[in-house]
Symmetry: none
Subunit: 244 residues, 2 copies
Amino acid sequence: MESFVINHKSPLPLHIQVEAMLRNLIELPEYQNGKMFPNEVHIAKKLGISRNTVRQATNKLVYERLLVRKKGVGTRVAKNNITTRLNKWTSFTHEMDEKGVSFKNYTVKVSRVFPDKEIQQLFKIADGIKVIKLERLRGLEKGPIVYFISYFHPATGLTEKEDYSQPLYEKLEKEHHITVAVSKEGISAILANKKLAAKLNISEGDPILFRKRVVCDPGDRPIEYNLGYYRADSFTYTIDIAKD
Amino acid sequence: MESFVINHKSPLPLHIQVEAMLRNLIELPEYQNGKMFPNEVHIAKKLGISRNTVRQATNKLVYERLLVRKKGVGTRVAKNNITTRLNKWTSFTHEMDEKGVSFKNYTVKVSRVFPDKEIQQLFKIADGIKVIKLERLRGLEKGPIVYFISYFHPATGLTEKEDYSQPLYEKLEKEHHITVAVSKEGISAILANKKLAAKLNISEGDPILFRKRVVCDPGDRPIEYNLGYYRADSFTYTIDIAKD
DNA sequence: ATTTATACTTTGTATGAACATTTAAACATT
DNA sequence: AATGTTTAAATGTTCATACAAAGTATAAAT
């Protein structure tokens, strides 16, 4: 904070710059134990900007529950912001390994395709750029449980010739120096159509747990877009959530 | 919107009043298909308040991803789906009609019952002890969205005569000095049977997102056992997970 | 007909100011 | 010692204003 200066020439808005600074501040050990943050007026004066701009930046972090404001008192880092997050976020392979279940690939198919609009916008890539598409049918000995479709951002550097039978996120981290940090998920229930029923070895109209997932890097840039279709009779999504 | 007026005498801040109004606006069918919202300047002028105050209200809804703003274009309702965000983990009531309105109970039924084996073991209580059972059908104006069944641990001290139309976790915290800390959840997909179909106003065989939830206190002792049956067509479970 | 320039609309950014509300701490009173 | 009272500090609310940036629509030019 001491060394931080506002750059009025930067293309980045001031409140974004301040937000970044605050995120760094939050990481400092001295604020982790509930010590008060520097107050708004002070920050504003220090950086030579308006208090409103400081508030605009702080608001975002408050929304994210990283900071807690209290009228008449001040602002401090949220106590258990680490445990707020889901404890063990791991790849599906890992998930299952821990439970002592051996998971296997039934089919793996890799291709390079033109992504649809949604993915194109998510990845912020231009027309005519192909992405790696990975389809996997996975399950236990007795039969398939989930059908995955993944699309990877070109920046990952993944190619068609990759060995996709290994755990993916570890590979990305080790070989491509990409750290995955956040997974945004949407879960819903759908009915199996003919194609899915055939793949998952169930009947048309059977329930399927559908999970759409966006895996991002620490800068919140999307790395992978993933669709998962789970046999509802043999898969339950379990979560531990801590409040506060 | 037309009939809405700002109350400058109200103890509620203006931006909260506006936020409530916007939440109602969002529910209106005319905005459900992506039609543009009235623009900020217009709303401000119409309500006789500052544009900044309108923005303050909209910010929250934008953050909750109920509204999408686009520079140079306008603001519109995000999608057709109601989403609940797990990183802001609160009671369902709190989640939905915190400051706004629009979420309502269709039916509330309280009873004292002998729990089944699973609940008995979870609560670690002896045979012959009854627990409070709470059934709720909740949703929006246009129809029910979720059917809840909750069982409460006897130690909560909850009785049949409680007012269950208020937010539950706050009540527990304030009146019974019980803090809820962790929620363990299992999510799956099932098909609507005749009973559920009737309750949720859908057809038999339609997909349902089924959530089983155990809410615990900080000592990890179970407080509530909760089953939730969500209409899959109008509810998606969204999660942001940080890897750590 | 297509491109280009322009004006307009809408959200985004930023400032400065004023007052309200809440809290904690210091102080005074009983 | 317990209880009020004042005061200072911090966030909360709200306003008015100005300009920037992005997208849309229209008019002009080619």
